[in-house]
Structures are given as C-alpha cells and as structure tokens.
C-alpha cells in the first residue's frame, strides 16, 4: 500500500490529484492511500450534484471555495476534518463488498481509539432530500448511536475504485446550513443525523493518532504493508492537465 501525505492544497488540486490516483495509468493494481487537507474552507459537491441549492453569494462572502468531486454524493464543508482518499483496483469484488471492507477498516480503527461504530444495518433508511452529505443517510454509513460520523463517496471505472472520505472533528452546523438556500431544513437534518468526532469525545489534537490507527487497521485487515511515497513526475503532469481541462475552471464546478 502506497501512502501519500499531502500538505494543505486547494480544492481544485486535491480533486485533480485524487482523479489521477483513481485513473492509475500504468499502475492499475496499485493501492494508494492519500491523506490530504485544504488550504481554505471548501465546499466539495458530488460529481453530478446540482448547484441550484447552494447559496453562491454566501460562499463568496465567507471566502469558501466550491469544488466538484470525481465521486458521487452530496456537499461537504471541509473546515476541520480528516480527509483521505483510497484508490484501488476493483479486484472483481462487488460494490457492497468493497464498502463492507472499508467500513470494517474504519470500524476497527475507531474502536482502537474508543469510538464504537454501530453494526451494519440491513435496511438503512435512505434519505435523499438534502443537498448536504451529513444530513443524509445512505446504506453503508459509518454511524455511532445512529448518527453519521463520516462522509464516504465512491466512483468506479472499468479497473479501479476511488473512495473519498471525510471525518469531521467538529462542525459549525449554522455555517454548513448557511451554504444552502434551505438552511433551516439542512440545519435540522444535521442536528438529528450527524455527530462530529469531538461531540463523541475524540478531539482534533488526536488527528495523528487517528491516521495511525487507520493505517494499522488497513495493514491488519487487508494484509498490506505501508510504503510512503512522493508524487511521480508523470502523475503531477497529469494533475496539471486535469487542472487545465476542468478542475481549474470555475464553470466546471458550477455548470450543473
């Protein structure tokens, strides 16, 4: 397992880097874990999410960037979260199996730091009405006492899968809700359906510990060895191309 630790970057650069790892050109069998963060507050939205629900003037006034992810799902405000991506071969296993495998890793990691994740729920109620990821419930959620604690989004091509994960340490529900036109509804859903890690006793200062237990769980459960690496020059060239083609274009993120 290759591990990349990136410094804080723009949302555009982060998404372009994840897409390059997902493409895995010439390295289709490579498993890559990337820890990353954001140089400023950024609202990431799903690949096909419509922007009509988003209050563009509020984002502008607050200096919040907007970026469209290569994965699906709904909007996440990245402010005080641990974000990571996992790019891997599809390996002939089903979508459900990959989600279960990932949930097992997170479940074990969080258990090691004293956070008991709920067991898998067979018939999780799907709520689709909200534009905010953390106000929604999909199957395979990571929940504690019935409340969502992480956003997991996925994309698949012929050969590879990309997971993008956000684990917020804290959340400003008013700020998140204010990013949308129907802020009261979003606020209520966030209050009822979501817990940040600090709200269940895990403080931001233990960020490095959380990263370490995630790595340990991946090594234990997937029987892989971590190997830290830097970006390859060919990958960075491809990042530049993706930035020029779409991610650095404001219109790409707001087109829908």
């Amino acid at each position: 397992m290759q591990v990349i630790f990136d410094p804080p970057l723009s949302g555009y650069e982060n998404m372009a880097r994840d897409e390059v790892l997902w493409e895995g050109r010439g390295n289709e069998e490579e498993l890559v874990l990337r820890f990353f963060s954001w140089e400023k507050k950024t609202l990431s939205i799903g690949r096909f999410q419509r922007t009509q629900d988003i209050d563009r003037s509020f984002l502008h006034a607050q200096g919040i960037s907007l970026v469209r992810r290569p994965t699906g799902g709904r909007a996440i405000l990245h402010e005080d979260d641990l974000t990571l991506s996992l790019a891997m071969p599809r390996g002939g296993v089903s979508l459900d199996t990959q989600y279960r495998q990932l949930k097992e890793v997170f479940g074990q990691a969080l258990f090691r730091i004293g956070i008991p994740v709920d067991e898998e729920i067979d018939h999780f109620p799907v709520r689709l009405h909200s534009p905010a990821c953390f106000a929604l419930s999909f199957p395979h959620e990571l929940t504690v006492k019935g409340k969502k604690i992480a956003g997991i989004a996925q994309a698949r091509n012929k050969e590879r899968t990309l997971f993008q994960v956000s684990l917020p340490f804290s959340i400003d529900r008013v700020l998140v809700a204010s990013c949308f036109h129907h802020q009261e509804l979003v606020y209520t859903d966030l209050r009822e359906n979501f817990s940040a890690l600090e709200e269940i006793g895990f403080h931001h200062s233990l960020r490095a510990r959380l990263m370490e237990v995630l790595l340990e769980s991946l090594e234990d459960l997937w029987r892989v060895k971590r190997e830290e690496r830097e970006w390859k020059s060919g990958e960075l060239l491809r990042v530049r191309t993706l930035l020029e083609e779409k991610y650095a274009l404001d219109s790409y993120h707001w087109e829908r």
Partner: protein, 129 residues
C-alpha cells in the same frame, strides 16, 4: 443471487445488455448492475450523433452508493437516448430491460457482435447460479 437475464439479449463484462432492433441495438445496464448500484439518482447519457468505439466511456450512472462509468458495448453512432431517464432515473431500477433502456446505437462493425456474451456466459461472469 437471483438476477434476471433474459435470453435473446447479448451482454458485456461491463454489465450492459444489448438487443438488436431494426438494424440498431438498444442498450442498457443489466439487472445485476442496477441491483449492485442501488437506487439510481442520475444518468449522464451520450449525445445523439456521437461516434463511439467499443469499450469507450459514453456516460455515467450515479446511485446512492457510487458514480459508475458506462462503456459502449459496440462501436457505432448513438441514434437515440432515453430522455425519460432525465426525469425518472429510477426506471433503471424498476425496469432495466424495458423502460430503463439508456441509448440506441447503429453498429458500424457487426463482427464485434462476436465479442458479446450470451446470457449463460454473462451469468458465469457475474458468478450467478
């Protein structure tokens, strides 16, 4: 796993079905694929008139679990898309081989048909008894 695989259709390893009709083919995703994806919430379809190569990415389907690329089962020209999916993407879940069809294509090379799978071969591909 009990998935519907109608006889008389052709299939691809990328989980498309193909049905011949008046010199064209109708294409959609299989019951197995829609079942794995879960509730479909959006479909991005190719443009009519677009020339595609077999195996080329022609669109995406988004479900509550993932965004998954769609690949052309044969080379040819897109002649029609199912515009009903723009308003009702759930038709793919409800009726994958009927109202949930995605696009029609005029094949340019009929020899490529030999590369498609029968229902039995596709069943083996997905490991469904």
């Amino acid at each position: 796993m009990n998935v519907k695989l109608p006889e008389g259709l052709w299939y691809t390893a990328e989980h498309f079905w193909v049905k011949e009709a008046d010199g064209e083919v109708i294409c959609g995703i299989t019951d197995h694929a829609q079942s794995e994806l879960g509730d479909v919430v959006f479909v991005e379809m190719p443009k009519v008139g677009m020339k595609v190569k077999r195996g080329e990415r022609v669109g995406d389907v988004e479900s509550v679990k993932t965004v998954s690329n769609l690949y052309a089962p044969l080379s040819g020209e897109i002649t029609e898309i199912n515009s009903a999916l723009l308003e009702k993407p759930e038709l793919i879940n409800q009726d994958p081989y009927g109202k949930g069809w995605i696009f029609k294509l005029k094949p340019e090379n009929l020899e490529e048909k030999a590369l498609l799978l029968t229902a039995e071969s596709y069943r083996r591909e997905i490991g469904s008894g």
